[in-house]
């Protein structure tokens, strides 16, 4: 039995923990010897686990252009994520992957003007793409990021957005929060409405991720503006166990979200039964 099996994980070490919001932390993970556990492409995921607690799929939020470590932005919302949030630096976890397809950064997205639309923790998978295209700036056109959250305190990666994205030439960031609050002089309102207000050019290719309800209204708004489903990508989330299309859990129609997704174009989603 010398062959590797994808169900047998690697050991990773948490080398840094950043508190993003009251319920989101970003964990830096490296191999025990230092460096990344494996290479990935933007949009791919990995199974993280604390043995005895649970194992779940998370998007890799760091860009593959980061050669030193991987990062995972994780919202506290269940048994495993509670445990992860209680970790200290130096804690070992198990990691396996990468799983799934990726955003087509080297094919369909190349040379395009890109519009990223995210809500809440939905920024996590898109951050990998945003930093990838920022690092390979010459391969892409304009970059616009429309990002919204419940409140200012719930904006993930806020410091990076202010210090790095907003100071980057050719990257336009539009932030919004659901309700007005003290200390916020930016836009107030829901993401789908803000997108319509901003009226982005229909020449852009769109990558959207957020709560299902936000995605639904954002897509409807984009269609009103004249965008077609073939120019809008999203990334999906379903319960997963194996990560390789065998355990049956994330099966929708003839697709397995873990292996055929998580990234889908909306015209591809249209061909699937409506149960996500």
């Amino acid at each position: 039995m010398n062959s590797n099996d994808t169900l047998i994980p690697y050991i990773g070490v948490v080398t840094d923990i950043r508190i993003d919001t009251p319920d989101v932390k970003t964990f830096r993970v490296e191999s025990p010897e230092g460096g990344k556990l494996f290479e990935h492409m933007p949009g791919q995921c990995a199974m993280l686990s604390i043995p005895g607690v649970g194992e779940a799929m998370f998007s890799i939020t760091s860009s593959p252009t980061n050669k030193e470590f991987m990062e995972f932005s994780i919202k506290k919302c269940g048994c495993l994520t509670n445990w992860l949030h209680a970790m200290d630096v130096g804690q070992m976890i198990t990691v396996r992957g990468p799983y799934g397809n990726a955003f087509p950064v080297e094919t369909e997205l190349k040379g395009k003007d890109l519009l990223f639309i995210a809500g809440g923790i939905g920024l996590a998978p898109l951050r990998s793409v945003i930093n990838y295209v920022r690092d390979k700036r010459e391969n892409y056109g304009d970059i616009q990021v429309i990002y919204g959250s419940r409140s200012k305190d719930d904006l993930v990666d806020y410091k990076e957005i202010l210090d790095e994205w907003m100071t980057d030439d050719g990257v336009h960031v539009n932030l919004t929060i659901d309700n007005a609050q003290e200390g916020w002089d930016g836009h107030v309102g829901f993401v789908p409405n803000y997108v319509k207000e901003l009226n982005p050019s229909t020449s852009k290719t769109v990558l959207v991720c957020g709560p299902p309800i936000m995605i639904k209204f954002t897509l409807a708004g984009l269609k009103e503006l004249g965008f077609t489903e073939t120019q809008v990508y999203t990334t999906m989330e379903l319960r997963m166990k194996c990560g390789v299309g065998k355990c049956g859990r994330c099966n929708i129609g003839n697709k397995y979200v873990c292996k055929d997704g998580p990234v889908f174009r909306f015209d591809q989603l249209d061909e699937l039964p409506d149960e996500y």
Binding site: M1, S3, I8, G52, G78, I93, T94, L238, K246, P273
Partner: protein, 340 residues
């Protein structure tokens, strides 16, 4: 064909079991049959098929995957996989033999499942042709001939003799290992009569007319939104019995168990009929039994064929027909969906 006298079958079992582990379908106390590890004196069941399918041999109900030692912030991984020992399963029916090739499509496709492959590589499947198909049988719907079963080596009985024919190299190795017990028997007139009689019975089975022509990978839109699902799923208890007795159901869960001396990670059968199958921290995309019920049958009749050149995820063994506590089953589903 090579054959052995029926009254010498015991000596064949003894010879095989002397070299490697042999499993045969044998009677239980409750009147059902199950695969048991052969021991001297054990008799082949007279029942048509076993209560549970033969998938356990390659995809057991629970199976340890890996172990962890936890020490403060440290985790140590222990790869507990071991090369499986060679074994022989005798008496597998044609339906169950076909289920192995269906499971192969899932577990041997990239990335190969090393746990399944290990067992598959070391197991020799000796099939046994059916001569008394049951009223719940509909393997012929899926193009399976129960009088000509697949498997590494096929076996037929005409009452007086057991005849053998190897289908694979592994099957030939099996026959070579018992060659001193076998004799040439070219006169298969009696066997031909048994096969002809079986085929005649099959053509008159209640489900003989069931066809797959209205099912396949292109039927998503036609059936997913069918209003038939409401009535069909109404009385489903969500007990999962159908998935557990099904030879082709292959969904699994991965769980951790604290042994007191570390963490054992194992996988076990799971069922899309269960409410927590798709449950996530933020919600469940399949909230009602209708959606879960529909998933199981759509997968077997539409999604699986869409990904596997039209092959269906059912072999017509009939176990779900006889075991479902509310008598719902794939045949009723197929018939209802077909009705316009």
């Amino acid at each position: 064909m090579l054959r052995i006298s029926a009254n010498k079958l015991d000596s064949l079992f003894e010879a095989v079991a002397a070299k490697q582990t042999l499993y045969i379908p044998a009677d239980r106390n409750d009147g059902e049959a199950e695969y048991k590890k052969y021991e001297t004196g054990m008799k082949l069941t007279s029942r048509l098929n076993t209560l549970r399918s033969a998938k356990d041999f390659f995809f057991p109900q629970t199976e340890d995957i890996v172990e962890f030692k936890m020490d403060g912030k440290k985790i140590e991984i222990n790869d507990i996989r071991q090369e499986c020992e060679d074994f022989v399963i005798f008496g597998v029916r044609a339906c169950d033999a076909r289920s192995f090739t269906i499971l192969d499509k899932v577990y041997l496709s990239e990335p190969v499942d090393s746990f399944y492959k290990n067992r598959r590589d070391h197991g020799t499947v000796v099939t046994l042709a059916c001569d008394r198909p049951a009223e719940t049988c509909f393997c012929q719907t899926f193009g399976i001939d129960p009088t000509a079963p697949e498997g590494d080596c096929a076996c037929w009985s005409d009452g007086s003799y057991y005849y053998f024919k190897a289908n694979t190299a592994k099957g030939q190795t099996f026959l070579d290992s018992i060659s001193d017990l076998l004799e040439d028997g070219d006169d298969t007139a009696e066997l031909d009569k048994v096969i002809a009689k079986t085929k005649a019975v099959m053509s008159k089975l209640p489900l003989a007319g069931l066809s797959t022509e209205n099912f396949g990978g292109d039927k998503l839109d036609e059936y997913f939104s069918s209003d038939k699902w409401t009535e069909l799923s109404e009385s489903c208890l969500g007990c999962g019995t159908c998935t557990f007795v099904c030879p082709t159901c292959q969904c699994y869960d991965i769980k951790d168990f604290n042994t007191g001396n570390g963490i054992k990670r194992y996988r076990c059968w799971d069922s899309c009929m269960y409410s927590d199958f798709t449950k996530m921290a933020h919600g469940n995309p399949r909230l009602t039994q209708l959606e879960r019920f529909r998933q199981r049958f759509m997968h077997k009749l539409v999604y699986f064929p869409a990904n596997n050149n039209g092959e269906f995820g059912c072999v017509g063994c009939g176990r779900c027909l006889s075991k479902c506590p509310i008598s719902m089953n794939i045949v009723k589903v197929m018939k209802a969906l077909e009705e316009k």
